[in-house]
């Protein structure tokens, strides 16, 4: 009940605006950008959404596509619904942002003036962070960390692999998109191998020792995939130092592995336009005010989703959706000349360890000391001691979660 009340609170208020018709521009048509565009449009504002792609391909559940459990078409969300609601779509990439002039430049040279800009730039993969791993190497050792062609490439590689092959999933250090995502992926690949290629082995090489929902994952792996899935943490020599994509070799600090299929998830940073707009710091991510989501580096620009430094809040679709609603309210308040209200935000996320085995984590966050911090005592994870029926129920809730968050973002 509390959760619903919190969610609803961000949807209220259709304000009478002091200004005639302020111009709002949103960059990025993912979970954050689409949600923000719809929330601002619902409040009666003229909104232009800048997004070159005609459809968004969702990352949540794309691990099930890799494991052959789900069709790629279930991941596609067209932006036509937003257009039908009256949101103007600029089907181009934004190439520059002039914060002083309050202007976005598009790929064809057109300029869009704005009163306030919301950027949801998502992530870019860093092809300069791991020796040997560049864009060309990703065609041999897919990252599959942006859903689309890479997702299907990894799936085809698993399908083509002979039974008995070694699959490696390499996981980066924090921060990166979707903290539990690599472990869900490892689980579902293990499920694919167990049911289709049982003589194969899966090695998870991790650049850290601690991860999201760790106890639940490790318990599930021990029950479902003993002898098949081996997890190697940082302190076990799990950190990659170099790859040779042509030879299929992954080098770690303490050894090397020759993989039949290698899924390398490299370090990441905010999507490229964020750097062009001058809203990234030296970390490659975007510092923001946790109340208004306005950039700490450029006035008039708000940022949401995976690209921001959100403190305790993870980089997830649901977090982007929640931040978009709060950010839209803050933008409306600022346009009225009011101070934005201090928000509370919620994240929930589900992971599948097998098609009928789901686990979840939830958190509640509030601004403190300039960052979003955990509200003590709120949130939590699925219980460690739970019957199979509960894991099965949570796998179902995961489907409901996906339907809800995609409907809220894309209509």
């Amino acid at each position: 009940m509390k959760r619903r009340a919190l969610l609803a609170a961000t949807l209220l208020a259709a304000p009478a605006l002091a200004q005639a018709s302020p111009k709002l521009v949103v960059i990025g048509g993912g979970f954050g950008g689409a949600t923000a565009a719809r929330a601002l449009h619902r409040a009666g504002l003229a909104v232009t959404l800048v997004e070159p792609a005609a459809e968004y391909i969702a990352c949540p559940f794309s691990n099930a596509v890799i494991a052959g459990l789900r069709d790629m078409d279930s991941q596609r969300f067209g932006l036509d619904g937003l257009r039908r609601e009256g949101i103007a779509l600029a089907r181009q990439a934004a190439t520059a942002v002039d914060a002083a002039a309050r202007r976005v430049t598009l790929a064809d040279g057109t300029a869009l003036a704005y009163d306030r800009l919301v950027m949801a730039p998502g992530i870019d993969l860093r092809f300069d962070a791991l020796p040997g791993y560049d864009a060309a190497a990703a065609e041999t050792m897919p990252h599959a960390w942006k859903a689309g062609a890479q997702t299907l490439l990894l799936r085809r590689q698993l399908e083509a692999m002979e039974d008995g092959g070694l699959v490696v999933v390499a996981v980066p250090a924090n921060p990166y998109r979707c903290p539990p995502g690599p472990y869900e992926r490892a689980s579902l690949i293990a499920h694919y191998l167990k049911t289709r290629k049982p003589r194969s082995k899966l090695l998870v090489l991790d650049a850290k020792d601690v991860f999201s929902k760790q106890k639940l994952f490790e318990q599930g792996w021990a029950a479902l995939y003993p002898g098949l899935l081996e997890y190697v943490p940082l302190s076990g020599g799990g950190k990659l130092t170099e790859v040779d994509a042509k030879a299929g070799v992954l080098v770690t600090e303490f050894g090397e592995h020759r993989a039949a299929v290698a899924n390398v998830i490299p370090p990441q940073r905010a999507g490229r336009i964020a750097e062009a707009a001058g809203v990234t710091d030296r970390s490659g991510w975007c510092p923001v005010d946790p109340v208004s989501f306005e950039s700490r580096l450029q006035p008039g620009i708000h940022l949401i989703g995976d690209a921001i430094i959100a403190g305790a809040m993870p980089k997830s679709a649901f977090a982007a959706n929640a931040q978009a609603r709060v950010c839209a309210e803050a933008v409306l308040a600022l346009l009225r000349g009011e101070a934005p209200a201090t928000p509370k935000l919620i994240n929930t996320c589900y992971s599948l360890l097998a098609p009928d085995y789901g686990i979840s984590v939830a958190g509640v966050y509030q601004p403190a000391d300039g960052l979003l911090t955990d509200v003590p005592g709120a949130g939590g994870t699925s219980p460690l001691e739970a019957p199979a029926s509960q894991r099965r129920a949570e796998a179902g809730y995961a489907e409901d979660w996906f339907r809800t968050v995609t409907a809220d973002a894309f209509g």
Partner: protein, 106 residues
């Protein structure tokens, strides 16, 4: 016995500078942290790391509470002749562990 990882080339050319990496799985309890019962936990850290090459010290480090868990130490050595490298970690509560590796120099 703590788990130890050591990475060095199996063989090297005479005069070559080789890189040696070591990691020991150890909690490095600082002695400043309260336990679940509220009582400060006793310090338990690795205090010293030494590498001998044929019984001659080639690298030594002192470790303190500010060193993170699972100390990762990497250093370089000039390969002059074939021999045995002995790595020793010692610490609180009588902790002592030695691992050896052979290096072939051609």
């Amino acid at each position: 016995m703590a788990r130890v990882l050591i990475n060095l080339p199996r063989s090297a050319k005479r005069g070559e500078l080789i890189e040696i990496r070591t990691l020991i799985q150890h909690g490095m309890e600082t002695g400043y942290r309260p336990g679940p019962n509220g009582v400060t936990q006793q310090r338990d850290i690795i205090r010293s790391f030494t590498c001998l090459f044929d019984n001659e010290e080639v690298f030594h480090a002192e470790l303190y509470q500010a060193i993170a868990a699972n100390p990762f130490i990497t250093f370089s050595m000039l390969a002059t002749a074939s021999g045995i490298l002995a790595f020793t970690w010692t610490g609180d509560n009588g902790f002592a562990q030695t691992e050896t590796r052979a290096l072939t120099v051609t």
